[in-house]
Amino acid sequence: MTPDLECDALTKRFGAALAVDDVSFSVPPGSFFSILGPSGCGKTTIMRMIAGFLAPSGGDIRIKGRSVLDVPPNKRPVNMVFQHLALFPMMNIADNIGYGLRRKGLPRAEITRKVGEVLERIGLPDIATRKVEELSGGQKQRVAIARCMVLEPDVLLLDEPLGALDLKLREHMKIELKALQAAFDTTFVYITHDQSEALVMSDQIAVMNAGRFEQVGTAQELYYRPETAFVAGFVGDSNRWSGRVETASGGTLGLRTEGGLLMQATAHGRPLATGDRAEIYVRPEAIRLARQDADLAQFDNRLSGRVTSLLFNGAASRILVQSDQGGPEIEVTLPQSGEFADLGRGDAVHIGWSGAQSNCFARTGAA
């Protein structure tokens, strides 16, 4: 099947600066593809090149197999939901949604019918004659998507459209966007710096850093098996140690951190040999908390220490543990099943994790 969107060795230079560096990816039809990266990583540049507002310095963009490089933005079969939505404040909702249809020269009756249909679909059938400023944030969001979807584009681009919403609404819109994507059965390309948006909604996520794709994969792949240290650090939270490989046999590594801790880890196929300098990443939620060391017998990494801080954040509560063997404080997820409800600062605890849950990367350069 031809991918809906293909970028091939896409490159963009601004003067001497390389904003997008040789990026290639393809998005299969009907999927939700996200580009996740910190601000300034070049993700907006990619999106603007796909939409046609920027000309690439090199490479090709194909939509449904056809190169669109010499197609102007108003003729491309892609539409964009802008960061601040860019609804037309001088028009009412029906005119906003009908704008693209009017540009196509459709008869008035058909425009009215299509606008009515799409309003029905986004669950706001009664707002056709309202003004833009009368809508709530979530309604505007849906209208912005409807305004694009009514044109039946091959690809819908979304440029951090949830950024301006408050937290509760953002959580709600994540689910709604995913549902809308399924309902319209259109390819969505979504860019964001918010990993939770990308993880919840996407079929495929590309993690971008400094103009390059670090890794492309499903949310689970990125979370459990990051391919680079950047992905491990950017997606989810991690405890991080620097160290050196002391033993390497059959995919199991023995590492000693700079603080002197000895750790077991699985190589997961990464090329690490004895003597290599390495970065070790362990997620707070991969670490088991216990009151007795005996409870952690099944783990190959075990430490005892004291609680130095309680970071209460509801379901995402954590504690900081200072290991008796020294080294930096370790963040551990606090289970909310009740058994640690009376845990206080200074209490002695035991922590343990499986070496298979950690990710090690060869240390490159000075980083």
Partner: protein, 285 residues
């Protein structure tokens, strides 16, 4: 505390009230009374609409009146046509220092007095002026060309004088238009003209209306430019008012003319606002 606040309010309000009453309301009441007075003998006056009847009875007055209105509307339209692309460039295309430099360039001519600026045009356009000499030097014209003292020269002067007052409100409104809205217009299939018609102009309407009102008022009330650049046939209504007050010493008729000009400008501005569906609050707020 409350007394303090009230005192502050009164103090702040006083200059405005003084300005309104001393410079606008009182002179106009006086002018109104003056215009409704007819001289029946030496130092003998009667209240009558005779001055207004004179105005409507004399074709020259009426023709000049209408001509001034039409020419002012024309000057406003030309100023808008020239200022719109200029403002769009300054507000949306130029960036950073270029933007402020261009804006400043629009302002620079206003550092010299209107009189000197108009003389500048005379130097360019007169028979022995720069353009005439250049045309002769290039062999395009065989003899000296007189470009002054006609309606075209006067129009050039009026547009030039008013340009800044159109550019400033336009740049301000265009700057408030989010670039993404223009991009969305293109993204959804719009072409240059349709984006201009459906998005940019509707957004800029308050600026267009505000600028047009100011330019129209300035043109209508201009005295210097029509006098210096206009010809024998380019009579301007302000010249009639001037001659009644100063030359003929007929203050009564002059006051009536002044009131007619006030009514004319109010009616045209009101009609323009109705036509564009704007209100004064929306435009000025």
């Amino acid at each position: 505390m409350q007394a303090h606040a009230r005192l502050g309010f009164i103090l702040l309000l006083t200059p405005l009230l003084l300005w309104l009453s001393l410079l606008i309301i009182i002179p106009h009441i006086d002018m109104a009374l003056l215009s409704l007075r007819e001289r029946v003998g030496v130092a003998q006056y009667e209240t009558s609409p005779a001055n207004y009847l004179t105005f409507f009875g004399e074709p020259l007055y009426l023709r000049t009146f209408m001509r001034t209105a039409v020419m002012s509307i024309l000057a406003t339209a030309i100023t808008l046509l020239i200022a719109f692309p200029v403002s769009f460039y300054i507000a949306k295309i130029a960036r950073g220092r270029v933007q402020s430099a261009l804006f400043l360039l629009c302002l620079v001519p206003f550092w010299v007095s209107e009189l000197v600026r108009t003389f500048g045009w005379m130097i360019l356009l007169r028979e022995t002026g720069v353009i005439s000499s250049l045309l002769q030097y290039l062999g395009i014209a065989s003899g000296p060309v007189e470009m002054l003292y006609n309606d075209a020269a006067m129009m050039v002067g009026l547009v030039y004088t008013s340009m800044l007052f159109m550019v400033v409100p336009l740049v301000t409104t265009l700057q408030s238009l989010d670039d993404a809205v223009i991009e969305a217009g293109y993204d959804l299939g719009g072409s240059g003209p349709s984006v201009l018609r459906e998005i940019i102009i509707p957004h800029a309407t308050p600026g267009i209306v505000a600028g047009s009102i100011v330019v129209f008022m300035l043109s209508l009330g201009n005295y210097l430019t029509p006098t210096m650049l206009g010809g024998k046939d380019s009579l301007w209504f302000t010249q009639l008012i001037y001659s009644q007050f100063i030359v003929r010493f007929n203050w009564e008729l002059g006051a009536a003319f002044g009131f007619m000009l006030l009514i004319l400008s109010s009616v045209i501005v009101w009609a323009m606002l109705r036509l564009t569906g704007q209100t004064l609050e929306k435009t000025m707020g």
